[in-house]
C-alpha cells in the first residue's frame, strides 16, 4: 500500500511537471477579457423592429418587448422606460409569454422572429425564467429557428408552443407542441408537414382546453419567397390538443397563405381571422360569432390584406369585442366589430404588434419597424419610446475625425452618422440623417467632406456634400449594350485608400468611378453565376405577390480593394463566387473552387483584403438562406489559389464579417449571428466576447486606426464599441504564462474641455462616452482574492501622488486614473465648501505605476501629455499650476489653523466645566477664538438656501477651484482676488498669533500650573493624514 502511494505521488509529480512545461494556456472569453467592456451607444431615436409585445395580466406597470433582433426588454413603469433582460441569449425574439399562474416570475421566451422578411435573424429555442428575467434556462427546441406562440393554462400544468420553424428549408421541428408538466417534456400534437409551421396559436381565455392554431405553408430562398399552399389552414381543438379540426366554414376554397387569428377576451365566442387567399376579393378580415363554426368575410381594405407574411397580427380590445386592431403598413383600427377601419395615428410604418392596457383601453402600445410607440387616446396620437436602442445596422464605416464618426444604414430606418463620443454622452440629437428608405452601406470620402449613402437595391445612391448641404444621386445606370443591372437589396460600394475620388459599386459587374460617381466604367464581366433560375423576382411572394427587390440575387455583395496594391481587387457574390483581379479589373479569376469544404453557391458575405500581405485575404461565407447555419471563414495567402478554414467548434452561429487587426496579423475579430468572437492566434482558438456585449447579430466590424477602437454595426442593438483593443495585440503564450503583465499603452492626453453638454430628457437613451482617464492595463494569471494588493502612482521623484484601487480579476484588468491628486483638506466648517471638492491635475510627464501584490511588486510607466488643443503656453501652464498649488496649500494651511483654534476652543470649554476658577481665562480664549473663527469659516446655516455668508474658507476654496478646474492662465481679476484673500488670511493668522500669545498663553500657563491636561496638537503632516 505504501508503495502504491509512493508511485502515485511520483506519477502525480511527473504529470504536473510535464504539464507545466508544455501546457498551453487556453482561456475562455470570460476568463480572458476581464475589464475590456463593450460600450453601447445606440442610436435609439429611430429604434428598430419589434416582433412581439406582452403585458403582465394583473400589473400594468410590467410590459415586455420582444425585439426582432435586439432581445427582450422589460418595463417596470408602464412603458416609460425599458431594460434589457435577455442579453446572453439569441436576440431574435418570436414571442414572450407570461405564466398566468406565476406572472411576476415565470416568463417564457420563444426565440426567432416570425415576421419573415428577407433580413430576419434566427432563434435557437425556447427559454424560461423563474425570477422575472434575472436568470434564464434553455428548455429546448434547439432547431426550431422561430417560435410564434406560447400559450399557458391558467389552472393546470398544461402549456403549448407553436413553432413556425425554419424559413429557408424543410424541418420537422414545427407545428404545435404540448407539455403537461409545465414545460419539462413535450409532445408534438399538430404537424402537417416539413414546410408548414404554426403561424399563430391561441388559447380560449375561459376554456384552456380550447385552442386555435393557424398553420402556414411558406418558404424563403435567397432569391424568392413563397407564402401559401394546400397545407395552410386554421384548426381548432376542444380537447387540449388531442384532436384538431379545420374550421373553414365561410372561408374560400383553394390555397391559403398566412392566417392571423384573435379571440375577443371579453367574449371568446367572437373570433377574428385575417386570410391570405388565392383571390384578392377573398383576402382580409373574417369574423366568427360562434367560436369558429361559421365565418363571415367583412373587409379587404389595403390595411387588412397588405403583406401577410409581415403583418399577420390582429388584436382585440380586452374589454370591447368590437374594437379590433390589425398590424400593417400603418396599422388599422375598427370600432364597429371589423366592418370598417381607419389608420392608427402617425408613427413609424410597419406595425407588427399591439398591446392594450389591462385597465384602460385608451392606453395602447404598438410595436413597429421603428420601435415601440405609446398612445393615451386609443391609438390616435402616438409617441415613441425613446430608450430602446434596437437599431438594425446592415453596415458601418468610420472616419478619422476626432472624435470619429460612425456611418451606417438601418433596416427600414434610413442612413445616419453620429459621433463615437459627445459632450454629455451620445444623444439622439447627435445623429444626422443621410438617406431614406432602408439604409445599407454608408461611406465617407477619404479626404473630402462628402458622404456616399444608398437605399435598397441601389435605387438611389446619394453623394452628399455635407458642408454645402447638396446632394446628387450617382448610382450606375445601364448604357448601350448592358443587360439589366442586378443590384443586391444591400448593394456593395467601396472607396479607395489609394485614390480618394475613386468609388466602386457592384451589380453583377464591378463598376468603377474615378470622379466620385459622375462617370462609371465597368471593370469586370458578370462576376456572378448569372443563374436565370434565381432571377425571377417578379413572381416572388406566393399567394400575395411581393417583389420589393429584397430577393434580387446573383449579384455582387462585397468589394475589397487591397490596401497594399490598388490593382488587386476582390469581389464576393451572393451566389458564392470569390473573384480576384490583380490588374485593376482587366482579368478576373474565380477562386471559389479552390475552397475545400464550402458548400456550392454559399453567399460570400465579406472579403477582407489583408494589410500585411498583398496575396492575403479573408473570406466569410454564410449559407443561412440555404438553411445552412454553419460558420465558414477562410484565409488565403496566395491570391486565392489555396484557402484554409480558420473556423473552430468554439464559434456558435453563422458568421458575416471579419476584421483583421492592423498590427498583429493573428488578431482577428469575427461577427456572427450570436455575437462577437476574437482570436489572438490566427484562428486556432476563438473566444466569445460577452462583456456588456449581447448575443446580437454582428453584421459589420471596423477597427479604428487611430484609437484602436473596435466598432460593430449590430442588427438589433445599434453601434457597439470596444474602446482601444490594443492590449489584445500583446496576448501570446509568453504573456499568458506570466503572473502579471502590464500592457503597453499610448501616452494619455489630459483632455481640456468645458464639461458642458447633455440635453436629453429622463426617458431618452444616452450612449456613454469612453473614459478620458489614463488607462493602466494588465493581465493577471489568477484572480487576487487573499491578502493585500494595491497600486500607487509615483512621480519621477518617487513621491506617491495617488493611490488607486487595482482590479483583481483573472485576465485583463483596466484601472483608470483621471490624472488628479487627492482633493485638498479643507477647514472644518458648519457646511460644505464645495470648491474643496476639486482635485488638481498633475503636470504632464512620465509616472511610475507600482502594483504591490503580497510581497511582489510590478512596475510600469505611464505617460501623460497636455492636450494639443490647449490654450496655455508652457509658461502660462506653469503659472496656473503654481497658483493652483499655492491655493491648494493655503486651503490646507487654513484647515490646520482652524483645527488648532478648534482644539483650543474645545479645551477652553472643557476647562470651564472642570474648573470653576479657570472660567475667566478659558472664556477669554473661547470668545476671542470663536469671534475670529467666524470670519474664517462658515459656522452656521445649511448647504442650500439657508446658507450663511461665505467666509475666508469658502472664498479661498472657490478661487482655488475656479483656477484649478479652468484651462486658462489665472486672469488679472483672479490674481487680484488672490491678493485680497492672501491679505485677509495673513491678517487672520496674525490675529490668531496675537490670541495665542495672549489669551491662549494665559490658559496654557494656568493648565500647567494646575497640572491639568494640556492641549495636544498634531503636527501639520499628521493632521493631513486624518
Amino acid at each position: 500500500m505504501k508503495n502504491l502511494i509512493y508511485v502515485m505521488a511520483c506519477l502525480c509529480t511527473i504529470l504536473t511537471s510535464h504539464g507545466q512545461a508544455q501546457e498551453e494556456i487556453v482561456l475562455s472569453g470570460k476568463e480572458l477579457f476581464g475589464d475590456l467592456q463593450a460600450r453601447q451607444i445606440g442610436p435609439a431615436l429611430m429604434s428598430g423592429r419589434i416582433n412581439d409585445l406582452e403585458g403582465h395580466p394583473t400589473n400594468n406597470r410590467i410590459i415586455y418587448v420582444g425585439a426582432a433582433g435586439g432581445g427582450v426588454w422589460k418595463s417596470f413603469d408602464g412603458g416609460a422606460t425599458f431594460k434589457p433582460i435577455f442579453d446572453e441569449h439569441a436576440q431574435s425574439i418570436g414571442t414572450v409569454a407570461i405564466d398566468p399562474k406565476d406572472p411576476d416570475n415565470t416568463i417564457w421566451v420563444g426565440t426567432g422572429e416570425t415576421w419573415t422578411r428577407n433580413s430576419v435573424s434566427i432563434g435557437d429555442g425556447l427559454y424560461k425564467t423563474n425570477d422575472g428575467g434575472k436568470t434564464w434556462e434553455k428548455v429546448g427546441f434547439d432547431k426550431s429557428e422561430r417560435i410564434s406562440s406560447i400559450e399557458i393554462s391558467p389552472n393546470s400544468s398544461d402549456m403549448y408552443v407553436g413553432v413556425l420553424g425554419a424559413l429557408w428549408g424543410d424541418s420537422e421541428e414545427r407545428g404545435v407542441y404540448k407539455s403537461s408538466d409545465g414545460g419539462k417534456t413535450w409532445n408534438k400534437i399538430l404537424y402537417v408537414g416539413p414546410s408548414t409551421g404554426c403561424g399563430d396559436l391561441m388559447m380560449d381565455p375561459k376554456d384552456p382546453s380550447t385552442l386555435y392554431a393557424s398553420m402556414w405553408e411558406f418558404r424563403r430562398t435567397a432569391w424568392s419567397f413563397s407564402s401559401g399552399g394546400n397545407k395552410s389552414a386554421l384548426y381548432k381543438s376542444t380537447d387540449g390538443g388531442k384532436t384538431w379540426n379545420k374550421i373553414h366554414n365561410g372561408f374560400p376554397s383553394g390555397k391559403l397563405g398566412r392566417i392571423a387569428i384573435a379571440i375577443a377576451p371579453s367574449n371568446p365566442q367572437i373570433l377574428y381571422a385575417v386570410l391570405e387567399t388565392e383571390k384578392d376579393k377573398d383576402n382580409g378580415l373574417y369574423r366568427s360569432d360562434d367560436g369558429g363554426a361559421n365565418w363571415k368575410h367583412l373587409n379587404n381594405d389595403f390595411g387588412l390584406v397588405v403583406r401577410p407574411f409581415y403583418f399577420s397580427r390582429i388584436v382585440v380590445d380586452p374589454k370591447n369585442p368590437d374594437v379590433v386592431v390589425k398590424g400593417g403598413l400603418f396599422g388599422s383600427i375598427s370600432r364597429d366589430g371589423g366592418k370598417t377601419f381607419k389608420n392608427l395615428g402617425p408613427m413609424h410604418a410597419d406595425i407588427h404588434d399591439i398591446l392594450f392596457d389591462i385597465n384602460d383601453s385608451d392606453r395602447m402600445y404598438v410595436g413597429t419597424d421603428g420601435g415601440v410607440y405609446r398612445s393615451w387616446n386609443g391609438g390616435t396620437t402616438m409617441e415613441i419610446v425613446p430608450n430602446l436602442p434596437l437599431s438594425q445596422y446592415y453596415h458601418i464605416s468610420v472616419d478619422d475625425a476626432e472624435p470619429y464618426n460612425i456611418y451606417g444604414g438601418l433596416q427600414d430606418n434610413g442612413s445616419w452618422y453620429g459621433p463615437s463620443s459627445s459632450p454629455g454622452g451620445v444623444e439622439a440629437r447627435d445623429w444626422n440623417s443621410i438617406g431614406f428608405g432602408d439604409g445599407f452601406r454608408v461611406l465617407k470620402h477619404p479626404t473630402k467632406n462628402i458622404i456616399y449613402s444608398e437605399m435598397q437595391g441601389a435605387e438611389n445612391v446619394w453623394r452628399y456634400d455635407v458642408e454645402r448641404d447638396k446632394v446628387k444621386t450617382i448610382q450606375p445606370l445601364p448604357v448601350k449594350g448592358d443587360p439589366k443591372l442586378r443590384f443586391n437589396w444591400n448593394a456593395p460600394m467601396a472607396v479607395s485608400v489609394h485614390q480618394p475620388d475613386r468609388f466602386y459599386m457592384g451589380s453583377q459587374f464591378l463598376h468603377k468611378s474615378e470622379d466620385m460617381g459622375n462617370t462609371w466604367v465597368k471593370i469586370s464581366p458578370d462576376l456572378t453565376t448569372n443563374d436565370p433560375a434565381k432571377q425571377n423576382q417578379e413572381s416572388s411572394g406566393g399567394l400575395s405577390k411581393d417583389n420589393s427587390g429584397a430577393e434580387n440575387h446573383t449579384t455582387i455583395f462585397t468589394i475589397a480593394e487591397s490596401p497594399i496594391d490598388e490593382k488587386v481587387i476582390w469581389v464576393g457574390t451572393d451566389d458564392g463566387n470569390v473573384q480576384v483581379t490583380r490588374d485593376g479589373g482587366k482579368t478576373w479569376t474565380n477562386t471559389v473552387a479552390n475552397i475545400q469544404g464550402l458548400p456550392k453557391n454559399t453567399w460570400c458575405y465579406h472579403i477582407e483584403a489583408s494589410n500585411f500581405n498583398i496575396g492575403t485575404a479573408y473570406a466569410v461565407f454564410e449559407g443561412h438562406t440555404k438553411n445552412d447555419m454553419n460558420a465558414y471563414v477562410y484565409k488565403t495567402s496566395d491570391f486565392g489559389k489555396t484557402w484554409k478554414s480558420i473556423v473552430t467548434d468554439e464559434i456558435y452561429g453563422f458568421a458575416r464579417n471579419i476584421q483583421e487587426d492592423y498590427v498583429n496579423e493573428d488578431l482577428l475579430f469575427l461577427g456572427t449571428e450570436f455575437g462577437l468572437y476574437i482570436t489572438v492566434d490566427g484562428g486556432k482558438h476563438w473566444n466569445k466576447f460577452t462583456n456588456n456585449m449581447p448575443a446580437v447579430a454582428v453584421h459589420y466590424i471596423e477597427l479604428h486606426k487611430k484609437t484602436n477602437d473596435l466598432i460593430m454595426g449590430t442588427h438589433g442593438r445599434g453601434i457597439i464599441i470596444i474602446d482601444d483593443i490594443s492590449p489584445l495585440r500583446e496576448l501570446s503564450q509568453d504573456v499568458l504564462q506570466k503572473d502579471v503583465h502590464f500592457f503597453a499603452s499610448k501616452p494619455t492626453i489630459m483632455v481640456e474641455e468645458s464639461g458642458f453638454g447633455g440635453g436629453s430628457t429622463e426617458t431618452q437613451f444616452v450612449g456613454p462616452n469612453p473614459s478620458k482617464a489614463a488607462r493602466i492595463v494588465y493581465y493577471l494569471k489568477k484572480r487576487h482574492t487573499f491578502g493585500k494588493m494595491n497600486m500607487e502612482i509615483k512621480d519621477n521623484g518617487g513621491n506617491t501622488v495617488m493611490e488607486l484601487t487595482p482590479g483583481k480579476s483573472k485576465g485583463i484588468n483596466v484601472v483608470t486614473w483621471n490624472y488628479m491628486i487627492r482633493q485638498p483638506k479643507v477647514a472644518k466648517g458648519k457646511t460644505f465648501s464645495f470648491g474643496g471638492f476639486t482635485s488638481p491635475r498633475v503636470p504632464a510627464g512620465t509616472y511610475k505605476v507600482v502594483l504591490t501584490k503580497g510581497k511582489d511588486t510590478y512596475e510600469t510607466d505611464l505617460v501623460l501629455e497636455y492636450d494639443p488643443s490647449s490654450l496655455l503656453t508652457a509658461a502660462e501652464r506653469e503659472e496656473k499650476h503654481n497658483i493652483t498649488m499655492k491655493l491648494y496649500n493655503m486651503n490646507e494651511e487654513l484647515a490646520y489653523v482652524v483645527y488648532e483654534m478648534d482644539e483650543y476652543i474645545a479645551r477652553a470649554e472643557s476647562l470651564m466645566k472642570e474648573d470653576a476658577k479657570a472660567k475667566k481665562t478659558a472664556e477669554a480664549v473661547a470668545k476671542s477664538l470663536n469671534d475670529l473663527k467666524d470670519t474664517m469659516v462658515i459656522t452656521k446655516g445649511d448647504n442650500y438656501v439657508g446658507s450663511a455668508e461665505p467666509q475666508l474658507r469658502e472664498k479661498l476654496s472657490d478661487l482655488y477651484s475656479k483656477i484649478a478646474s479652468g484651462y486658462e492662465k489665472p486672469s488679472a481679476s483672479e490674481m487680484q482676488n488672490l491678493q485680497l484673500l492672501e491679505e485677509r488670511f495673513n491678517k487672520a493668522k496674525a490675529d490668531f498669533n496675537k490670541i495665542k500669545e495672549k489669551e491662549v498663553s494665559k490658559m496654557n500657563t494656568y493648565i500647567q500650573k494646575n497640572n491639568l491636561k494640556p492641549v495636544e496638537l498634531k503636527s501639520f503632516e499628521d493632521f493631513l493624514k486624518i
Binding site: 431594460k83 411576476d104 434575472k134 436568470t135 482574492t785 472644518k828
Partner: protein
C-alpha cells in the same frame, strides 16, 4: 498499468464530488473556512472604516453593523458628519445633504430594513431559521474565475406599493469558497431592473475571521466605485445614541 487506472479513477471521483456541491456545503464551507460557523454566530457587531474613491475625491466612512440589526454609516467630510442608513431597531434615517439635519426614511424603506434585522453577520447565515430559500444555480465564470452561483431568496419586500421578491446571487470561488461577487436587482428608482454588483477581494484575517478589505460597488457590466477598507473592529463598543434618531433637531 493498474495503478494508472486507479489514479485516473480517483481523479474522476474528485471531479464528480466537486459537481455534487450543494448550496449548504458551499455556505458551510465559507463560514467554517473564514472563522468557524459558531464563531460567526457569536459576533456582536463589526465596525469598519473605509474610503470611497471617486476620481480625486476620497470620502472617509465609518460603518457599524450590530447583530441586533442596528447600523449606521458615518461620513466625515470637511468637518461635517453625515449619517446614512442609520437604523436603531425602529427608525431608519439619514442626514439630509441640504439642511444637514436628520430625516426619517420613507415607510417602505424602513419596513425593508426591519426585515434585514436578522441578517447579521450575513443573510446566508442560518438562512433556514429565517425562512429564506437558497438554491445552487450552477457554475459561472465571474472576474475570470470559476464560481458557484447561489441564489438567496428572502422575504418579499414592498417597493413603490408592489410586493417584490428579494433575491441576491452570491458567487463563491470554487477554489476557496469565499464569495468574490454578489448581485442584486435594483428595485427602485430610474435604475430599477438593473443588476447591481459588488465584488470582494483582499481577504485578510481580523481576530480569527476573514473579511474582504477591498470591494467594488456598481452596476454589472457598467461602472463601479472602489472601496478600500482601512480597519475592521469586531464587537465594537457602541451606545444607543449612535443610532437614535435625533428628535426635535
Amino acid at each position: 498499468m493498474k495503478r494508472v487506472k486507479l489514479f485516473a479513477f480517483m481523479l474522476i471521483v474528485a471531479v464528480s464530488s466537486a459537481h455534487a456541491q450543494d448550496a449548504d456545503e458551499i455556505i458551510n464551507n465559507y463560514f467554517e473556512n473564514t472563522g468557524g460557523y459558531d464563531n460567526w454566530g457569536n459576533l456582536e457587531g463589526v465596525k469598519m472604516t473605509f474610503k470611497v474613491k471617486q476620481g480625486g475625491l476620497e470620502i472617509p466612512v465609518e460603518a457599524v453593523q450590530m447583530a441586533d440589526g442596528r447600523q449606521y454609516s458615518k461620513i466625515t467630510f470637511q468637518g461635517n458628519t453625515i449619517m446614512q442608513g442609520v437604523y436603531d431597531g425602529k427608525t431608519l434615517w439619514n442626514t439630509n445633504f441640504q439642511t444637514m439635519k436628520a430625516e426619517k426614511a420613507d415607510s417602505e424603506s424602513t419596513e425593508r430594513q426591519k426585515l434585514n434585522e436578522n441578517d447579521f453577520p450575513e443573510a446566508l447565515y442560518n438562512y433556514k431559521d429565517k425562512g429564506y430559500k437558497v438554491e445552487f444555480v450552477g457554475k459561472e465564470t465571474i472576474e475570470g474565475t470559476e464560481t458557484y452561483k447561489i441564489k438567496l431568496t428572502k422575504e418579499p419586500v414592498t417597493v413603490d406599493g408592489e410586493k417584490l421578491d428579494d433575491i441576491t446571487f452570491y458567487y463563491f470561488d470554487t477554489e476557496n469558497f469565499v464569495p468574490i461577487a454578489q448581485e442584486t436587482e435594483v428595485l427602485s428608482g430610474p435604475q430599477k431592473g438593473v443588476i447591481g454588483q459588488v465584488t470582494f477581494s483582499d481577504y485578510q484575517e481580523v481576530d480569527g475571521f476573514y473579511f474582504p478589505f477591498s470591494m467594488t460597488q456598481g452596476i454589472k457590466d457598467g461602472g463601479s466605485s472602489p472601496i478600500t477598507i482601512d480597519s475592521i473592529e469586531l464587537n465594537p463598543t457602541v451606545s444607543d445614541n449612535d443610532f437614535a434618531f435625533p428628535e426635535g433637531e
